[in-house]
Symmetry: C2
Subunit: 215 residues, 2 copies
DNA sequence: AATTAAATTTAGACAAATCTAAAAATAGTT
DNA sequence: AACTATTTTTAGATTTGTCTAAATTTAATT
């Protein structure tokens, strides 16, 4: 399994975990910042190996074996992110790029020992679930802040956008995983929300609210 | 800097740290399990980048920049080995292969934080010195067990051969770094040594004695 | 100094992963 | 149903790192 193959599987997995149908060649190319023709080449290769279902012009989807492989890469990625934050004091906006490299290290023992060192975490620093050795994981039954009514309150359990820019915005306004958040009011005009975050009050735009998960 | 370039620099560094002259194309090829013609190709490429001195048929040596780069890779390798043993409970004969992968991860912050987590170790699990951020390191002034006279005693501070097979031999006979060793006698015929290792007595062949460092 | 052996380099080929440009298939619209 | 726009695939080229086989240079030996 080459690094490139792993990256394709991971991308197909992420694009597919929404609707469950088969994925566009173009969507994969865009996500991976490559060309559709390269995606076609790789689709053939992965189909040969039994990791994706692929028929010309019919889109691409993961087979069971493909899902299993993708989950093991996601597991590694999220365990490494957790390690970087918990053990090496990285900020949550600094871990993605390094974890993209570390996820390709080949050693089952390494990842099992890492899991143990971290005390078998269920969620990564962004609140995303960490698949177990056999691919099982529990998604929080969480709601997007933007979809909750005025008066609702809960605990921030995750973010939808994990970009550095967004995470730094959250840091600046002291929004982090575990913080209690209550919706004090909603602006009808633009959907911006008036929030109580811990002991403070803040107003956030609709765009922000669309990327914060509450439970 | 590609992974392949890094591996060449590291190999040239290891082969060169003995005598200091320039290294054979063949020796590099053999060490890297590749062909001399591939070494020539890479020599040209690395010379282009100012990392090695290379003239046709004259052998290859690292420039100052090449040494600096090689030391940073050795630093990473040995810090990762230390991490695997100290934090993840790997045995000292299991770390090399994984560290060969981890040493190529690109993140200065990662390696500095790892150094900090490990409390800035000076030596790796095999007793080899870990270069600092600026390439400085202290070699133990150690002696090969095979070159010491009968009656000599000291502490085991390192091994010359880090192969899995050799390290497992040492484990079996409870020889490890930090153990006090005394030479009780030497067999004139084959050079085998009668040793006191901690509280026990053992006889080791000349070949074994050639791969254990004492201080 | 000539010859042989060993080491090294060159030339040409290959595989993996990518790209561009052109061709083909699908989907949407009139 | 025909046309158009979009998506997707094919064909051929490129890059990196490697290889084999042949040619060249250096070193060793007579």
């Amino acid at each position: 399994m080459t690094r490139s193959e792993e990256n394709y599987l991971k991308t197909i997995f992420h694009l597919g975990s929404g609707d469950e149908g088969s994925i566009n060649t173009n969507a994969i190319a865009e996500q991976m910042e490559t060309k559709p023709s390269s995606v076609t080449d790789m689709a053939k290769k992965l189909a040969e190996k039994g990791l994706v279902n692929y028929k010309k012009y019919q889109g691409i989807s993961l087979t069971d074996a493909g899902v299993k492989t993708a989950l093991s890469i996601v597991r590694k990625h999220r365990l490494w992110e957790t390690f970087l934050v918990e053990k090496l004091d990285f900020a949550w906006d600094e871990v993605h790029e390094v974890a993209e490299q570390l996820e390709h290290i080949k050693s089952e023992k390494l990842i099992d020992k890492l899991d143990q060192l971290l005390k078998f975490p269920k969620y990564d620093p962004h609140g995303d679930p960490i698949p177990g050795k056999n691919g099982e994981f529990q998604e929080h039954n969480k709601d997007l802040l933007s979809e909750l009514p005025v008066g609702a309150h809960g605990i921030c359990v995750g973010v939808k956008d994990s970009s550095s820019a967004f995470l730094q915005y959250l840091d600046k306004h002291e929004i982090s995983i575990g913080k209690p958040i209550q919706i004090l009011g909603k602006e009808a005009f633009d959907g911006s929300l008036h929030l109580k975050i811990g002991e403070r009050e803040h107003t956030v735009s609709h765009q922000i609210a669309c990327n914060i998960y509450l439970k």
